[in-house]
């Protein structure tokens, strides 16, 4: 697992800078990307799709910390996303008329938005802690069952609570989200996942995945490591939910079903369990695939109704894709390696020697 040792390479940067530099670099790049995309003729649509991609990327990369690096099988990620979405959404509904004094209105909104996200993320993390603490003591498939149950419980609670709008969901959440916010968080998620993977904590997670008994014998407190991985993963799922709630017109329990959880699992498995770049590539590809199919169908048939149906056959296509992938490449796209470890292997040996 080369990824584990590919920490931030000693590039001669002073220690104090290495922590913050990637984010400082990412801010202007993402801001520029947003500015360019807004200028496009169908800008709002592109930005909407790009935001969805970003949210799915956060979900896949964060789930990979639990399913890929730690080797536990969680299938309730949509539940944590829902917790984040509803908590952040509820907060914003109450806070949307507030203006923080001495700040311009737009700025004040963004500060409140950030607050809402963090509240959503932390609530999801707390749920992760509560769900994880008892279930991560067990081995094997128990976590899958418990997380599946958790996801359903959350959905049912949302569906039957007046305060959360029952099946209608929450409407009127201020549309504070921007491409910039989504992608900064996506960047932070990737950075966090990579830093965990390259740190001693990440190595302990890999060790748990490889051999739990040996890890325990080497002084790794496996239960609490698993819980911590689960908490971090749930936090980012909550953030993804919070972002989602602030750019879609309405959130309802239908957006956070078991199908959504499976979608994320498929992204992680397809990308290769344990590979962060694999999760990134797979989440981008699998989110854009139905969109691409839809526009392709529209272009060919000129009939929007057929295109609508593409959405309905998305899950069968996912399933087919997964079956094919498991037959051809059971370890996923990149296995447990990262993009930069894999690419050189694909280049024929002869050419590498030359």
């Amino acid at each position: 697992m080369q990824s584990a040792q590919a920490t931030v390479k000693a590039v001669g940067l002073p220690y104090g800078v290495r922590g913050i530099l990637p984010i400082l670099l990412a801010i202007p790049v993402i801001a520029l990307a947003q500015w360019l995309l807004i200028g496009l003729p169908n800008g709002p649509f592109v930005i909407y799709i790009a935001s969805i991609v970003g949210v799915n990327l956060i979900l896949a990369v964060s789930l990979n910390i639990v399913n890929g690096m730690t080797g536990q099988f969680s299938i309730g990620h949509a539940g944590f996303m829902a917790v984040g979405a509803y908590t952040a959404g509820k907060f914003s509904l109450h806070a949307k008329d507030l203006v923080i004094s001495h700040l311009p209105a737009a700025m004040s909104d963004q500060v409140l938005f950030l607050f809402a996200l963090l509240i959503g993320g932390c609530t999801a993390a707390l749920c992760g802690f509560i769900v994880g603490l008892p279930s991560l003591r067990l081995r094997g498939d128990y976590l899958a069952i418990v997380t599946l149950g958790f996801g359903e419980i959350i959905r049912v609670i949302l569906q039957s609570t007046e305060a959360f709008g029952r099946a209608l969901g929450l409407a009127g959440i201020p549309q504070w989200s921007s491409l910039f916010m989504v992608w900064i968080w996506a960047f932070i998620t990737v950075l966090a996942a990579r830093r965990i993977a390259g740190s001693s904590h990440g190595r302990s997670l890999w060790a748990i995945r490889e051999d739990e008994v040996a890890a325990e014998a080497m002084g790794v407190d496996t239960t609490s490591y698993k819980v911590r991985a689960f908490v971090v993963s749930s936090f980012f799922a909550g953030i993804a939910g919070g972002l989602f709630a602030h750019f879609v017109p309405i959130i309802n329990p239908g957006s956070f079903t078991f199908v959504k959880s499976i979608e994320v699992v498929v992204m992680v498995v397809a990308g290769g369990l344990g590979s962060t770049t694999g999760a990134i590539v797979a989440s981008i590809f699998l989110t854009l695939l139905p969109e691409a199919l839809r526009s392709a169908f529209t272009a060919i048939s000129g009939n929007a109704e057929i295109a609508q149906r593409v959405d309905q056959i998305r899950m069968p296509i996912y399933g087919l894709l997964l079956v094919t992938l498991m037959l051809v490449r059971p370890q996923g796209l990149f296995g447990n390696r990262e993009l930069w470890d894999v690419i050189p292997r694909w280049i024929p040996r002869r050419r590498r020697a030359a």
Binding site: V8, I196, D211, V213, A214, A217, V232
Partner: protein, 300 residues
């Protein structure tokens, strides 16, 4: 006399009706090199599993570094200074050699709340005492935060850790395998890597479960030298399970012999070698009756 690092008093464990180990006694001091032998299924590995916390003994007491550890988890016992290797190699197969060792070299974290303060809170007992565990997990989360933010202190710690792991690889003659995945190493090197990994946890006592299994004669004699060298260099107490009688008689100062979970002999190699019950256990009593010369030869 040097300090007692590991003491086992009358350890017994039942699995249903089966007595896998009964009244097992053992004491290991700093600098000791002891052996544990017995025929297949005699309870040797069960003894290891009790010592390391994989099983909880049905009765009896185990003390590691003076602390009573019955029912403690394996990782807690490891932290007290007891490390082991496994009979069937259990490396982290997909991790590189250096990462295998680094997992064991747990960082000496600079925590949010110091251990002394936590102990002080624990001493208060009651609900406040229980709060200490919660505060301790705050330490762990703080350390994760340092990893995420890549604080300078964390980076320095990681470098220290890497240097130590590299040193251990060098001692075990594996420096050239640093970035090789563990599963790709030859068998003998995998065994050595397991020892390196165990040493990473800074043990006081090292338990080696059949370290020479599958090695050829030359590798075995190298291993004998190495085990002695490790004991002296790290001032360890070492307990070895081994089937190779020549190896274990050659290095151990005291040998305990198990058969059907019972301790049938304990003492220096010469004494154990000539013990009638040991020969019986290995060769069968009918064999001894028909071949009296074996016992006589052993006595000589």
């Amino acid at each position: 006399m040097s300090e007692v690092l590991l003491r086992v008093e009358q350890a017994t464990i039942h699995f249903g009706g089966l007595k896998a180990l009964s009244n097992f006694n053992l004491e290991i001091r700093r600098g000791d090199l002891k052996g544990l032998i017995g025929p297949n299924g005699a309870g040797k590995t069960t003894a290891f599993n009790i010592l390391t916390g994989v099983y909880r003994p049905t009765s009896g007491n185990i003390f590691v570094a003076g602390q009573w550890v019955n029912g403690a988890k394996p990782h807690q016992i490891n932290r007290l200074g007891l490390a082991r290797t496994f009979q069937n190699i259990r490396l982290f197969r997909a991790l590189t050699a250096i990462d295998n060792v680094r997992v064991a070299c747990l960082a000496e974290a600079s925590p949010l709340i110091s251990a002394e303060r936590l102990d002080a809170i624990r001493q208060k007992g009651g609900l406040t005492g229980r709060l200490a565990n919660l505060l301790d997990s705050a330490n762990d989360y703080y350390d994760w935060w340092r990893a995420l933010a890549l604080t300078p202190g964390f980076q320095r710690e990681e470098e220290r850790l890497t240097r130590r792991a590299e040193e251990l690889l060098k001692i075990m003659g594996l420096a050239h395998r640093r970035d090789e995945e563990a599963r790709n190493l030859p068998y003998g090197e995998q065994r050595r890597l397991e020892i390196a990994r165990a040493l990473g946890t800074r043990p006081k006592v090292l338990l080696l479960d059949e370290p020479a299994a599958g090695m050829n004669t030359r590798e075995k004699s190298e291993l004998m030298v190495l085990i002695r060298q490790l004991r002296d260099q790290f001032s360890l107490g070492i307990l070895v399970i081994e089937h190779d009688v020549r190896l274990i008689m050659g290095i151990c100062e005291e040998i305990t012999v198990l058969d059907y979970g019972e301790t049938i002999a304990c003492g220096p190699p010469e004494k154990v070698r000539s013990d009638r019950r040991v020969i019986e256990a290995y060769l069968g009593d009918s064999y001894l009756d028909t071949h009296p010369e074996v016992e006589q030869a052993a006595r000589r």
